[in-house]
């Protein structure tokens, strides 16, 4: 192949010695060219492996090893009961609460905005949702301390109305507080995720339903909701994953005192562990990864279904 190309492109160079030389050089150059893609993507591949692959594999490896080395299922046994199991239960409960409630409300908000005639409102919410959805972490914590903490402004307003937050079982620094704070970034996230799906609902479907005599209610029951359902479920799964994995907001709000799986990993890393359980953090991480992998699997299935109707 190479020889053909050389001869065709360079018929004048017929001296046997020089031809062999040219062929050799071309070969070398072709090898280089063939390797070029490998060279270019190598840094990216190595970087991703070091930054993603190594930590993930390390977590799996250490989760199944004891302090003295050697394979063991002891860590897995530890996380399957007691406080660590409660941590998982709470995390799943938190994920469900902060994906179902903002998930449902988010659909209504997105629809209300999408069908509104005000362009200012539309632009404001699309920008605002983008900003707020990225807005977890400690800034959020302190904003809510100023709102619903013991000296918070909303606390004072409610107090003036004769409502005491503690008497209705709400405390910002516990599980109930974490739920309220998480919704602050979960709701905009849902609006962001569901808006394209709502935009995909075609006007002529509605007209077709009306021509067949359907009321607004029946249109939603038989057309709107079934078409939107995969997108809504997909959005909720995304919300679940985001709440389940979040650490910074819950940690800075409760100072590590609420029993959630990510917080327990943090406590483990900070050295708050009982002797004999020093590898249990890795086991919690593996548990989290398994749950998240399952969520992502469901998400990809749901997405495939969603793309059937909405592009």
């Amino acid at each position: 192949m190479t020889i053909d190309v050389t001869n065709a492109s360079d018929p004048g160079a017929s001296a046997p010695g020089s031809e062999a030389f040219v062929v050799k050089r071309r070969n070398f150059r072709n090898v280089l060219r063939a390797l070029e893609p490998t060279f270019v993507v190598t840094p990216f591949v190595i970087y991703s492996f070091l930054g993603l692959g190594v930590p993930a594999l390390a977590v799996f490896y250490l989760a199944f090893h004891g302090e003295t080395g050697g394979w063991t299922f002891e860590n897995m046994r530890l996380i399957s009961h007691g406080i660590f199991l409660i941590g998982f239960e709470n995390s799943i409960k938190l994920g469900l609460l902060t994906s179902l409630i903002p998930g449902v409300i988010g659909v209504f908000v997105a629809y209300a905005i999408q069908t509104s005639k005000s362009n200012v409102l539309k632009r404001l919410t699309s920008t605002g949702s983008g900003v707020l959805a990225n807005f977890g972490g400690i800034n959020l914590t302190f904003m809510f301390i100023a709102t619903l903490g013991s000296a918070g402004i909303l606390t004072a307003w409610l107090h003036a109305l004769g409502i005491s937050l503690t008497s209705i079982g709400f405390n910002l620094y516990t599980f109930s507080g974490v739920v309220v704070v998480y919704m602050y970034f979960q709701l905009p996230l849902m609006v962001l995720v569901i808006t394209p799906a709502l935009a995909g609902l075609r006007q002529n479907w509605r007209e077709a339903a009306e021509n067949l005599g359907a009321s607004s209610w029946r249109y939603w029951i038989h057309v709107g909701i079934p078409v939107l359902m995969p997108s809504i479920l997909g959005g909720m799964l995304l919300l679940f994953g985001s709440a389940f994995a979040a650490y910074a907001t819950a940690e800075s709000l409760t100072l590590g005192l609420v029993a959630l799986a990510p917080i327990q990993i943090g406590n483990f890393l900070n050295g708050n562990v009982i002797a004999g359980e020093t590898h249990v953090g890795y086991a919690i991480a593996v548990g989290m990864l398994v749950i998240l992998a399952f969520v992502m699997l469901l998400y990809s299935l749901v997405r495939k279904r969603a793309s059937k109707w909405l592009q």
């Binding site: 893609p37 270019v40 991703s48 972490g137 302190f142 402004i153 990993i265």
Partner: protein, 284 residues
């Protein structure tokens, strides 16, 4: 004579329509009503904490107005050190991220379209694998010399930023006719470097800018990895200061961080919008 008959036909149609269309105005009326209610409740939920945060940061202990919290912020113990560290990490992260992701994305777009699928999957992983798990693995298995340096955080932040950076670059590169531009540049005698610097980079500037801004916002807000790697960056400083002082100063710092992030992200959104407008114009 003729106009009257037309008028009558029109009216006859008008009368025939009502049974089918009465639903519409009534539905609109109903709907507006609950739209107002839901936007009111959600708006209150979003805006009251913002208002409370700003108000609280502008109060003194007795409830009067005071900008002391903002004024004393720069001189608060540890603040400058934390700010310096965050700045260093942000610059290192942005530089490494750009050097790693831009050439790779451009090359893959040009010559290896099939590798794009691999990059799609890899760059989604930092969203799926929580940062807390990543830092756990890093602390567990990385050598001590690596863990002793704050730049390990930068190393990991490049990973955390990958989803935004790649998504942004990918959109930017898809919006331009990369192949034609590159071939034109090469046929005019430009080498790889010149093509990259003078042709490709100016064309993806909005994408590059929004990727950088998102990276900076990420570094300045990241708490999980920094606190567990025991480095006092700005967010870690805010939480630690919260355990010793009266609270106004941290709320002030948080509100500054929030408003700063807000401005940066609004910038990104408007950049994205101008980018998509440009690509739409090109397509039409």
């Amino acid at each position: 004579m003729a106009p009257v008959s037309v008028y009558e036909v029109d009216r006859a149609e008008d009368e025939a329509v009502p049974p089918f269309s009465t639903g519409k105005p009534r539905r609109r009326f109903h709907f507006r009503w609950w739209r107002f209610l839901i936007l009111l409740i959600v708006g209150a939920y979003i805006l009251i904490p913002l208002y409370a945060g700003i108000k609280f940061s502008l109060q003194n202990d007795t409830g009067g107005f005071s900008d002391l919290a903002y004024k004393s912020l720069p001189s608060a113990p540890g603040f400058t050190a934390a700010l310096t560290l965050s700045l260093k990490l942000a610059i290192a992260t942005a530089v490494v991220s750009t050097l790693l992701m831009v050439p790779t994305s451009v090359y893959v777009h040009l010559h290896m379209p099939r590798f794009r699928r691999v990059m799609d999957v890899v760059t989604v992983l930092p969203i799926v694998i929580p940062p807390i798990v990543l830092i756990l693995g890093v602390e567990g298995e990385y050598p001590l010399w690596a863990r002793a340096s704050p730049y390990l955080l930068s190393f990991m932040y490049v990973i955390l930023a990958m989803p935004f950076v790649y998504r942004s670059l990918d959109a930017g590169l898809s919006a331009i006719d990369l192949k034609t531009l590159t071939e034109a540049s090469r046929s005019l005698g430009g080498n790889w470097l010149k093509t990259m610097w003078n042709v490709i980079l100016p064309n993806i500037r909005p994408a590059l800018l929004s990727a950088t801004v998102l990276t900076l916002a990420l570094v300045f807000g990241e708490y999980t990895m920094a606190s567990l790697d025991l480095w006092v960056t700005i967010p870690v400083w805010i939480v630690q200061a919260g355990q010793t002082s009266d609270g106004h100063i941290q709320v002030a710092a948080s509100m500054m961080g929030l408003i700063g992030t807000w401005i940066l992200l609004i910038l990104v959104v408007s950049l994205d919008r101008s980018q998509s407008r440009r690509s739409r114009r090109r397509a039409s």
